[in-house]
């Protein structure tokens, strides 16, 4: 007697792509604004980027209901931290919190593919890349979501991160200027939009620097 499988799934995939690039004194976080289900579009104007702390910005693709729930948990934990320590959480601290929060639901995961970007304690850009259950790593750049397989190889070619196995320890942040990194992000999203049906509509770019956050919006193909 074969095992009966559920014909209802608690998850859905709302598509979308998120990218982050770390620079010497900035961090660029970008995501498209299309939210879809199956072959239909739910929204052309849905932001997947969320500010968690002054120096930490989270971008998540996947199941947006789980993403919203995850953001709520992180927001409340951050508030408690602020009450207890009288300061905002740093990006590496937020990174660990996110990892623990995801692993907490190891056996009924948040269907969220996250990229966390921000500035570390020294003011250098940092990007953390995650899987659905909380395995994370600090990297120089990262991409998650439906278009990640199209984008990652190009970023690898242009921004090749040195292997963490090589000694002495090399800086994984890109030497590119802020304008060049933004140009790279725009090119990469325009290309991913051509070939991935779940990526498109508009591109939201957030640039984090020591003095504040700047947001830019660019049109993408709407088909």
């Amino acid at each position: 007697m074969t095992k009966q499988h559920a014909n209802w799934s608690p998850y859905d995939n709302n598509g979308g792509t998120c990218v982050a690039i770390a620079g010497s004194d900035y961090c660029v976080i970008a995501a498209d604004t299309r939210m879809s289900t199956g072959y239909s579009i739910l929204s052309r104007d849905y932001s997947k980027i969320h500010k968690l702390a002054d120096k930490a910005v989270l971008s998540s693709s996947g199941f947006q209901a789980d993403v919203k729930a995850l953001q709520k948990v992180l927001k409340s934990r951050h508030l408690i931290y602020q009450h207890q320590h009288n300061k905002q959480m740093s990006c590496p601290a937020m990174a660990q919190l996110l990892s623990n929060t995801l692993y907490f639901k190891r056996f009924f995961p948040y269907y969220a593919f996250n990229v966390l970007g921000g500035l570390d304690e020294e003011g250098k850009g940092c990007v953390f890349t995650y899987d659905a259950v909380g395995s994370y790593e600090r990297v120089g750049y990262g991409a998650q979501g439906s278009g990640s397989t199209l984008i990652m190889p190009f970023l690898d070619n242009q921004l090749k991160s040195p292997s963490p196995l090589l000694l002495p320890k090399q800086d994984s942040n890109t030497p590119l200027s802020e304008a060049e990194a933004v140009d790279l992000v725009k090119t990469v999203f325009a290309s991913a939009t051509e070939r991935d049906i779940y990526t498109g509509d508009k591109l939201e770019i957030m640039i984090l620097k020591a003095d504040g956050i700047k947001t830019e919006l660019m049109d993408l193909r709407k088909d």
Partner: protein, 273 residues
Amino acid sequence: MSQSAVDVPPKGGFSFDLCKRNDMLTQKGLKAPSFLKTGTTIVGLIFKDGVILGADTRATEGPIVADKNCEKIHYMAPNIYCCGAGTAADTEAVTDMVSSQLRLHRYQTSRDSRIITALTLLKKHLFSYQGHVSAALVLGGVDITGPHLHTIYPHGSTDTLPFATMGSGSLAAMSVFEAKYKEGLTRDEGIKLVAEAICSGIFNDLGSGSNVDICVITKGNNEYLRNYMEPNPRTYVSSKGYSFTKKTEVLLTKITPLLERVEITEVGEAMEE
């Protein structure tokens, strides 16, 4: 020698011997290979002087766009064209096959092909494959009996309609037709409506995209307007461009001779002629 060779039926076609094995494999968790589907929005409508067919140009393989500008309006006869949705290989093969059959029939009968001939040939073929040939078609043309428009479903059923849509974007396109279609449209009104319906599919259905192809068929004349509209230009091209200078890194060069070199000294007599 293998004793388990699969028998091919005497008249060709599909052999379903491996179906049980495939079922067993899928139960064990093996995923079947995916097909190239055309996602697609295809439409047709009858106007005052004939038939207008329209189609988008995106071919998808799952979530990836395999072809950004493919042709979905297939030639059947000088006065008959057919739009195809479903598995790309199936639509191509079935329309090519019936197109050849129609040509041979024209030679034999010395008459222009009729749409109902193409219709019957297609539906008979699709029915005999019980839906396994995944081709959903919008067939249209003008023959001696007038303009005709039909839809053909993968299992072999057909409809005769004044306006029709098929494919994943059919609901988006049909909503436009139902709102704006009326009898006796002029050529320009008809083209505008077909383009609007296809655009609705292109922008609202993720399986359809890129450009609009249109084909206008009237008595004694057809016009294939390839890429009639291109509403999706690339949004950003970097002004400075990107270079790919990193070549493959050579880590080690080592030559290993496969055979030992043997020195041959001239010994013995020369060969006899």
